[in-house]
């Protein structure tokens, strides 16, 4: 979840590809992004993983497009109602929307970066209360998504299914925490052992 050098999640998040439009010719690197020519020609477009795209963008050899998960359409939807968007659908399985967003943000210039940052934070805050609330409610029942009563719960269920990986971790954590508290309260009263 963090941007730690050793974090497996951060490393895999940087494998996400972004669309780069090259401004100049790059000799000998034609194989990047699956090309078959020897060189990259100016104005050509390639899908490059973020970890590699950093240096290319910083050195001003290419520009990149904001990826679809953070497009204006998504931003507007989030601004209107953050809980309505299924974040898990926006990015591939196993990658977090927030983690991806953070890595993109690191590559943007000041103004765009701040805008992105504010969007990520506002979205997170807007959704967090529901994530924790549902987790505590479900602590009494079964595991996430297990046997949820279809009809009545369908909106919360859709929300749960749309959680991004970071939110999912928090959900599981909160659920576990509630369960343990409950267990501790129950044990405390009836579980005192008698010393012989």
């Amino acid at each position: 979840m963090d941007n730690d050098y050793f974090s497996i999640d951060a490393i895999l998040a940087e494998n996400q590809k972004i669309q780069c439009k090259f401004k100049q010719r790059i000799p000998e690197m034609g194989h990047l992004g699956g090309g078959s020519e020897r060189d990259i020609t100016a104005l050509s477009k390639r899908q490059i993983p973020i970890w590699l795209a950093y240096i290319i963008v910083y050195s001003d050899w290419a520009d990149f497009d904001i990826p679809q998960p953070f497009s204006n359409k998504v931003r507007n939807a989030l601004r209107a109602e953050p809980r309505s968007v299924r974040l898990s659908n926006l990015v591939g399985a196993g990658t977090g929307w927030y983690v991806f967003g953070k890595t993109i943000m690191d590559m943007l210039g000041d103004e765009q970066g701040v805008e992105m940052s504010e969007m990520l934070v506002a979205t997170f805050k807007g959704r967090l209360v529901d994530v924790i609330d549902q987790a505590q409610h479900f602590a009494a029942l079964g595991p996430v998504g297990g046997g949820g009563s279809g009809g009545v719960d369908s909106a919360p269920q859709m929300f749960r299914e749309g959680l991004d990986t970071t939110e999912r971790e928090l959900f599981v954590s909160a659920q576990e925490s509630s369960r343990r508290m409950r267990k501790w309260y129950e044990e405390g009263n009836g579980g005192t052992k008698r010393v012989l």
Binding site: I8, L12, N15, P27, E28, W51, L52, I55, G94, V195
Partner: protein
């Protein structure tokens, strides 16, 4: 460029995916020696390619983009290699503390032992020495290898012997723990045997 380096970072990703799978299944996987070696070979190839490019640098133009890209690929591989090993070492440390520092319990377990590389075994041994040395400095006041997840409610505990563990010294004298028997003993004396699965607490 040879076919191996067609896509930079592919081997590295494979390695890191193993770390992720290990976390998801909460299991230690076998040390992937062949993949690590392939990665190191790739590093050497990249290094050679970088040196070749370095030789031809034009003072006024600066380093060619290809050089910086290769350097990035080298750093990426390095990061993935380090993360893989660091992740495994964290796992091993957790394992060590879960058995209360009983190193033989881990190393004699063929299931686990077969998954470790020789270096990891060395690491565990050295780690264990350090812990034991540290622990001995205040072992009268506190035993740092005792369990902390379940605070003891009683001084004594009733245990059932699951596996023979032979003669153990306790406050009551030496007791021969044989399978199927029950004893009321001081928790501190046999805590480590519960953690390792020889004794079972009877509630």
């Amino acid at each position: 460029m040879s076919a191996d380096t067609r896509q930079f970072g592919d081997l590295a990703t494979q390695l890191v995916m193993e770390s992720r799978r290990s976390t998801q299944t909460d299991a230690l996987l076998k040390y992937n020696d062949s993949l690590v070696r392939s990665l190191i070979r790739e590093q050497r190839d990249l290094e050679r390619a970088a040196e070749a490019l370095e030789a031809g640098i034009d003072e006024r133009q600066g380093p060619p983009p290809a050089l910086l890209i290769i350097q990035t690929a080298i750093s990426r591989n390095k990061r993935c290699l380090l993360a893989y090993h660091s992740h495994r070492v964290d796992h091993l440390r957790d394992l060590y503390w879960a058995v209360g520092g009983a190193l033989p319990h881990i190393l004699n377990n063929q299931d686990i032992r077969s998954k470790l590389s020789p270096h990891e075994v060395d690491y565990l041994r050295q780690y264990n020495s350090s812990v034991m040395e540290f622990r001995s400095e205040f072992s009268h006041e506190l035993d740092i290898t005792a369990s902390i997840t379940n605070p003891p409610k009683d001084l004594h505990v009733l245990v059932h012997v699951v596996k023979d563990c032979g003669v153990i010294q306790t406050e009551l004298g030496s007791i021969d723990f044989q399978k199927g028997q029950r004893f009321m003993v001081r928790r501190a004396d046999i805590e480590h045997l519960i953690v390792q699965g020889y004794l079972e607490e009877v509630s």
